[in-house]
Amino acid sequence: MKKAYLEFVVGLFLAIGIGCLAWLSIKLARKEFFARNGYEVQAAFSNGSGLRRGTPVVIAGVEIGRVASVGLQDYEAKVRIVIQQGVALQSDTIASIKTKGLIGEKYIELTPGASDKTIKAGGVIRETQPAMDLEALIGKYIQGSLAKPDDKGQPPL
């Protein structure tokens, strides 16, 4: 009897342990077994670097959705986003890719617009601003200064 009780307790602890591990994996991988209460919209970015499934979508710093998938279409990053039910997006809402923290994690910021029309489920956020390519921007100005002709009007190397 005592042995059976001991086995039961060990089994229970094991089950709790496995449950905790499963919960942790789901949370870390940001996977959802049950679909959130929300609606889906799409957006196309000319540069979607850093975006992946689970990337947060915020308005005024408050998370109101997540990226459901990222794919390539017409050489653009086509992103499916799930938005919380009850959050209406105007048709001129701007979606821009931003960076947070020191490690540069990306997120999508939505800036509400002024239009009377709203984006319906399955609709498209038309106005997008791609991720800023700082390296290219800095490189351009460095290269630009090197590319200037010298005093005699001779082109650079």
């Binding site: 001129d92 617009g113 002024a114 239009s115 498209v124 106005e127 601003q129 590319a147």
Partner: protein, 213 residues
């Protein structure tokens, strides 16, 4: 009577008919092209560049006339009302109809003056404008272009347009991937979080150069 002389008017008629047909065909193709957003952007850009390069308009006395002509071209191609409304964003709906009209007028004048100042200052540095392609979805379009300077620096530009009748009109411009509307929307958000709307209007009015129409 020389039979060749009788044939000549017939031949001439034929040639004329072909020429007319060719003209009609060219005209039709031009009309078709002019409906495309890229073609319309190109016409506006080329006209403004020609006005800036025109030596007759470069004199001090004709400066205001040149600015007026550029303003007219910008008014044709840019949908100022949508640019202003979208830039004010969520604050637009809180304003009265009269305030909205005043805002469109002030903001468009400020942008217009800023654009013309920039054109006049940087016109000499421009090397070429290339159009890379367009994408049309329903009544919306985007036109990608790149502006190269004489220093070999290339700036990507993307125009966002909406169809209005036969015209494509700009409602946003992305320079180096940064949206003009988003830039102003963020600034207005920040200003209106700290100070009242009246202060914003007063600031806009103060920024518009005196003497502009």
């Amino acid at each position: 009577m020389n039979p060749q002389c009788e044939l000549a008017p017939l031949e001439a008629m034929k040639t004329l008919r072909y020429m007319l047909l060719a003209l009609v065909a060219v005209g039709a193709s031009l009309c078709a092209c002019a409906d495309e957003p890229t073609a319309q952007i190109r016409v506006t850009t080329d006209t403004i560049l020609a006005l800036l390069a025109d030596p007759a308009l470069k004199t001090e006395a004709r400066n205001s006339e040149r600015r007026q002509l550029i303003r007219k071209e910008l008014d044709l191609r840019i949908d100022w009302a949508t640019v202003a409304r979208s830039s004010l964003g969520r604050h637009w709906a809180k304003r009265t109809r009269a305030e909205q009209t005043e805002f469109v007028s002030l903001f468009s004048r400020l942008l217009e003056e800023t654009f013309i100042d920039k054109f006049e200052t940087h016109h000499g540095e421009l090397d070429k404008v290339e159009y890379l392609g367009e994408k049309i979805i329903d009544e919306y379009a985007s036109v990608k272009a790149q502006v190269s300077t004489k220093d070999q620096i290339v700036h990507p530009v993307e125009y966002r347009l909406q169809k209005s009748g036969k015209d494509w009109r700009i409602y946003d411009v992305l320079l180096e991937g940064v949206s003009l509307v988003k830039n102003y929307r963020d600034q207005f958000d920040e200003i209106l979080a700290k100070s009242p709307y009246e202060k914003l209007v007063a600031d806009l009015r103060a920024k518009i150069p005196q003497g502009s129409p």
